[in-house]
């Protein structure tokens, strides 16, 4: 009996743990030796606390929410809805749901592409071999990410108040004649939220892009240069394809984050004016915990968010695949 080789990437195909990436067929099942079995058990013991907790706080509540979304009633007194899909039917007639959902999509469609492009430009500049003071630039641009969402929302609220800094500066530079009530009008209030999101998250995505850029094999870039490609062509045809997985990851995480955005909506604009800057998660919170809570309907809203997140992720994965 040979000692089981450690499961490295290039492990021998005959090594005891039978399920290896290389042997995709299930035909060869070598019986586990006693030691291997004990080690496999040790592995399970090590990972089960975390795995069980993830199931308990993610999957189990998700299934609970599905059952909950089929019930109606106020507070804790819930009964099965009649018909069962009553809450979902209500979603389609709910004006506030439609409004908050479309507001959330406006944030998503405008903010995420701008942020990812900006982050990509910044990451490429920071990765340039000739750039000086790299640490300074990187730290300063990443710094907003160390600030909490509630904190920055309050700072932005202060800056964009009618008697706030933004108006004062714009008037001083002659770009405005009179104070603008930024947070009091739908268009400008949404713009302030988008600016806030860009400020807070661009550096975060930049760090991921920068890490990915630093992992790119230099020789591929050299080869492109030798073949006569200019800077942009090298970036587009050599660098970009190698960054695709990380761009996809950032796009999915940002989409997910925007659809769940709550703190900014609650603290920066408090949903106003007239609920027009409210995100769908903020609305969900209000339905769940304001006035008389309606957990059944709230669960239906949460499932709508879940389904949209899943659909968008699927679309992004599909588009990401096609560009090969």
């Amino acid at each position: 009996m040979s000692a089981p080789t450690a499961p490295t990437e290039d492990r021998a195909p005959s090594a005891p743990p039978p399920g290896t990436k290389e042997s995709s067929g299930r035909s060869k099942r070598v019986p586990l030796s006693a030691i291997a079995r004990r080690r496999s058990l040790t592995g399970w013991t090590f990972l089960i606390p975390a795995a069980a907790l993830i199931v308990l706080v993610n999957f189990w509540p998700m299934i609970q929410a599905l059952f909950l979304s089929l019930q109606t009633g106020r507070g804790t007194r819930l009964t099965w809805a009649e018909p069962l899909w009553l809450n979902y039917q209500r979603l389609f007639e709910d004006e506030t749901f439609r409004l908050t959902m479309s507001t959330t999509f406006i944030y998503l469609i405008i903010q995420v592409p701008i942020m990812l492009c900006l982050a990509m430009v910044l990451a490429n500049l920071l990765n340039a071999p000739w750039l000086r003071f790299k640490g300074f630039w990187r730290t300063a641009i990443f710094l907003p990410c160390a600030v909490g969402l509630v904190s920055y929302a309050l700072v932005f609220r202060q800056i964009f108040a009618t008697d706030g800094l933004a108006n004062d500066l714009l008037i001083r530079f002659g770009l405005l004649d009179a104070n603008v009530n930024w947070l009091g009008q739908t268009g400008t209030a949404r713009m302030v939220i988008i600016l806030g999101l860009l400020w807070r998250w661009t550096g975060y995505n930049m760090i991921f892009f920068l890490a990915a850029l630093q992992n790119i094999d230099r020789s591929t870039l050299e080869a492109a240069r030798v073949d006569g490609a200019n800077g942009f062509k090298t970036f587009w045809y050599v660098t970009m394809p190698q960054l695709k997985p990380i761009i996809l990851l950032c796009a999915i995480l940002s989409t997910n984050g925007t659809l769940q955005m709550f703190d900014e909506s609650y603290n920066l604009t408090n949903g106003g004016p007239g609920n027009t800057t409210m995100t769908v998660s903020h609305y969900l919170y209000n339905v769940s915990f304001r006035n008389s809570p309606n957990f059944g309907y709230a669960a239906a809203i949460s499932y709508a968010i879940l389904i949209i997140v899943a659909i968008l992720a699927a679309i992004q994965l599909k588009v990401g695949d096609k560009r090969d």
Partner: protein, 270 residues
């Protein structure tokens, strides 16, 4: 100046603008913390001498100490537990690799896609039934095991030389000792990255504590800030000071560990 140097000027200008825009709101926050409410409204951009006065107003009007205590306990407990649970799980997924474990990991990764909104209400009901509303336990439990952290540790384990584990086993070291005494000390950048991510997230987390901590006596710092915003009388100087106080610990943690953080993220992306 040579031609290539000239061509680099726009890049430096662009970066300078980006840095200015990134830092300016933070500068405004810090400066406003030292100015009176009227000076903040008048957009004074120079530091003033009212820091102590603002601090006194803040402490007199808000339970700052209590909120700071609760935020610290929550964030530190979450970070310590998350590092223990997720590092050992990520290690196990890679070192005791098997097809069944791969399948489990794939299922766990799906949890990244579940929006918190979809789990918040059942979680609240669960903890309410257990009588754990307002408890530290309920605040931290949903945050300590995340597929993302497990993935981070699993990826980092990929580059760990397995011969060392074999050698340690031959020397008679137990599996737990190998993990704790040989593997963990080599994982400092990953631990730092995971620690920074978890600490920042927990310290700044707002929605879940707001949902589960019904009694204001247990409120965390972000909740305190939010309540100040909603209050009728607002002293802008002390409000900005409160924001500054909430932001300083996370900025310090980030600045101290940022090198390791970048290394950890790079390791995970490889």
């Amino acid at each position: 100046m040579t031609k290539t140097q000239l061509r680099r000027i726009p890049a430096y200008v662009f970066l300078s603008v980006a840095v200015l825009l990134s830092v300016f709101p933070l500068y405004f926050m810090a400066v406003s913390a030292t100015n009176t409410s009227n000076e903040v409204v008048a957009s004074k951009l120079l530091p003033g001498g009212h820091l102590l006065e603002n601090f006194r107003t803040l402490v007199d009007s808000q339970p700052l100490g209590s909120a700071f205590y609760h935020s610290s306990v929550n964030a530190i407990a979450t970070t310590v537990l998350a590092l223990i649970l997720c590092s050992i799980a990520g290690y196990a997924f890679e070192i005791y690799h098997s097809r069944a474990k791969d399948a489990v990991m794939a299922i766990l990764l799906l949890a990244i896609m579940i929006p918190f909104a979809a789990t918040m209400i059942p979680l609240f009901r669960l903890f309410a039934q257990m009588g754990l509303v307002n408890s530290t336990f309920a605040v931290i439990v949903p945050l300590i095991a995340t597929p993302f952290l497990i993935l981070l540790f699993r990826q980092a384990s990929r580059t760990f030389p397995h011969e060392i584990i074999e050698a340690a086993r031959l020397d008679g070291l137990g599996e737990v000792s190998i993990f704790a005494r040989i593997y963990l000390p080599t994982m400092k950048p990953t631990l730092a990255a995971a620690g920074v991510i978890t600490f920042l997230f927990s310290w700044n987390n707002f929605l879940w504590p707001k949902v589960i901590l019904v009694d204001n006596a247990y409120q965390t710092l972000p909740m305190l800030l939010s309540n100040m915003r909603a209050g009728y009388v607002t002293d802008y100087g002390s409000l900005m000071l409160a924001v500054l106080i909430v932001s300083v610990p996370t900025m310090v943690v980030f600045l101290l560990l940022q090198r390791s953080f970048a290394e950890g993220v790079t390791g995970a992306i490889k």
